[in-house]
C-alpha cells in the first residue's frame, strides 16, 4: 500500500511544525535552567556554608514551595528556593506548551480526530499541574 499524496503533504507539514516545536522546547529548557541557576547562586551565597539539610527522612518542603501561586510570589520576591522551583515549573510547563502548540497545529490542519486526541493529553497534563486533586 502506498501512502496517498495528501498523506505525504501532511507529513511534510508535520515536519515543519515539528521543527518549530523542537526550538520551543529548547528555549523552554534554557529559560528554566536560567531561573534555576539564578536561584542556585543566591541560595549558595546565602547558605552555602550551612550544613546540608537532612535528606535521609522525607519531610515535605514548606507549602509555599509546593503551590504554583506560592512559588510565583516567592520568585518575584527573589527568594532563592522559590526561584529554583519556578525554574522547575517552567521546565514542567515546556512539554505541556508543546502539546498545546500541537493542538493549534492540528486545528489549523482541520484534523479534528487529532484535535480530540491532543485535547485529551492536554487535559491530563493540566489536571496534574493543578495538583491532581484527589490523587
Amino acid at each position: 500500500m502506498t501512502p496517498s499524496t495528501s498523506q505525504h503533504e501532511s507529513s511534510r507539514h508535520d515536519v515543519k511544525l515539528e521543527q518549530a516545536l523542537g526550538n520551543l522546547l529548547r528555549a523552554g529548557v534554557l529559560t528554566a535552567a536560567g531561573f534555576v541557576v539564578a536561584g542556585a547562586i543566591l541560595l549558595l551565597l546565602r547558605t552555602g556554608g550551612a550544613p546540608v539539610r537532612d535528606y535521609h527522612h522525607f519531610v515535605p518542603p514548606d507549602a509555599q514551595l509546593r503551590s504554583v501561586p506560592g512559588i510565583f510570589f516567592g520568585a518575584v520576591a527573589l527568594d532563592p528556593r522559590s526561584l529554583i522551583q519556578f525554574g522547575m515549573l517552567v521546565l514542567i510547563a515546556t512539554p505541556v506548551l508543546r502539546v498545546a502548540a500541537s493542538l493549534v497545529g492540528f486545528l489549523l490542519e482541520h484534523d479534528l480526530l487529532y484535535v480530540a486526541i491532543t485535547a485529551i493529553v492536554l487535559c491530563v497534563l493540566i489536571f496534574s499541574m493543578a495538583g491532581g486533586r484527589g490523587l
Binding site: M1, P3, Q7, H8, S11, D14, V15, L17, E18, L21, G22, N23, L25, R26, V29, A33, V36, V37, A40, L43, L44, T47, G48, G49, A50, P51, V52, R53, D54, Y55, H56, H57, P60, P61, L65, R66, S67, R81, S82, I84, Q85, M88, I92, A93, T94, P95, V99, S102, Y114, I117, T118, V121, V124, L125, F127, S128, M129, G131, G132, L135
Partner: protein, 303 residues
C-alpha cells in the same frame, strides 16, 4: 552472581555517609558533588542510550542515603530537561512521527498519573525493589539486538483509522512505513507511563520496545518519537510530585543542572566517539546498582 552482589555491596558501602544527623558536608560542597554526579550520569546516559534517570535514583539513595521520594523527584525533572533539550536536535532529522506520539501519549500520561498516585501508597522499600528489577531489565533490553523488526504482515485497522503510517528520509529519498499492533503497543505504553510516574524515570526502554517490537515502527522513527514522548509523560507526574513535596529545590537544582549539561555533552560526543566500551561499562554499573537496590529494598534500608 552472589559473589558479584557481595563485592558490589562493599564497593558502594565505602561511600555511604554516616547516618548521624551532624553531617560534615556543607551545602556548597554537597551541591558541587551532586552536580558532578549529575554530569556523569547525564553524559553516560546519553552515550549508552539508557538515559541519565536510571542511575540518579540509585546514586542518591545508595551513595548519599537520600529518601527515595526526594530522589525520584530530582530524577524526574532531570528526565524532562534531557528529553526537551535533545528534542530540537532530533526533530531536525525529521524522523519522529507526531501522530503516533500524540496518540500513545494518552496511554503514557494516564499511566504516569496512576504511577504517581501509587508512589504515595507503596512502601519506599518496595519501590526500591521494583526499581532494581526495572534496572536489570533495561540492561537486558539494551543488550538485545538493535535493528528493524520485519514490517507488520497486515496493517492494523486502528492504525489505518488513526492514519499512523508515515515516512522518513532515507538515503534514497522518502521511505514509507505501516504500523501494526496498536492495542499491544498502547498497553505497553500505559505500563511505561506507570513506571515513569512511580520511579521518576523516562522509561525510554519500554517505549522503544512497544514501538519496535509490538508496533513494528522503524528503529529511527521509534527512538526519536520516544524521546519526544518522554518529556510529556514525565510532565504528567511532575506536577503531582511538586504538590506532594517530592521536588526539593536544594536537591533537584544541582542534579537537574548536572544531568542537563552532561546529556548535552554526551549527545555531542555520540556523533564522533566509539561508545561500545563505554556502553558496556555503563551497563555493568546499572546492573550492579540494580542488584544493590533490590538488596537494600529487601533489607528495608531505604525506609
Amino acid at each position: 552472581m552472589l559473589l558479584f552482589a557481595v563485592s558490589s555491596k562493599s564497593l558502594f558501602q565505602v561511600n555511604v555517609p554516616d547516618e548521624s544527623p551532624c553531617s560534615p558536608l556543607n551545602t556548597l560542597t554537597f551541591s558541587a558533588i551532586l552536580l558532578a554526579g549529575g554530569l556523569g550520569a547525564g553524559f553516560l546516559g546519553a552515550l549508552s542510550g539508557l538515559g541519565g534517570g536510571v542511575v540518579i535514583v540509585p546514586l542518591l539513595t545508595i551513595v548519599f542515603g537520600v529518601d527515595i521520594r526526594y530522589a525520584i523527584g530530582a530524577s524526574l525533572v532531570s528526565v524532562i530537561a534531557t528529553s526537551s533539550g535533545a528534542a530540537a536536535a532530533y526533530v531536525k532529522e525529521g524522523f519522529s512521527n507526531i501522530r503516533i506520539g500524540m496518540f500513545l501519549e494518552i496511554a503514557t500520561t494516564l499511566g504516569a498519573l496512576f504511577g504517581a498516585f501509587l508512589a504515595a501508597y507503596i512502601a519506599p522499600s518496595a519501590i526500591a525493589i521494583i526499581f532494581g528489577v526495572v534496572l536489570l531489565s533495561s540492561v537486558y533490553l539494551s543488550f538485545r539486538q538493535k535493528g528493524d523488526f520485519p514490517p507488520p504482515e497486515k496493517p492494523d485497522r486502528i492504525a489505518q483509522h488513526l492514519r499512523l503510517a508515515g515516512s522518513y528520509p532515507a538515503g534514497d529519498g522518502e521511505r514509507s512505513y505501516e504500523v501494526g499492533g496498536v492495542t499491544t503497543g498502547f498497553g505497553l505504553m500505559a505500563l511505561a507511563g506507570a513506571l515513569s510516574g512511580l520511579l521518576g524515570i523516562g522509561s525510554g526502554a519500554v517505549k522503544v520496545l512497544a514501538m519496535d517490537q509490538a508496533m513494528r515502527i522503524p528503529f529511527k522513527v521509534s527512538t526519536t518519537t520516544s524521546n519526544f514522548m518522554i518529556g510529556v509523560t514525565a510532565a504528567a507526574s511532575a506536577g503531582i510530585y511538586l504538590h506532594r513535596g517530592y521536588l526539593d529545590p536544594g536537591l533537584a537544582m544541582p542534579v537537574m543542572l548536572g544531568v542537563l549539561g552532561g546529556s548535552m555533552l554526551g549527545a555531542r560526543m555520540l556523533m564522533q566517539a566509539r561508545v561500545r566500551v563505554l556502553r558496556f561499562v555503563f551497563n555493568l554499573v546499572v546492573l550492579a546498582l540494580g542488584i544493590e537496590m533490590i538488596i537494600n529494598g529487601a533489607m528495608g534500608k531505604l525506609l
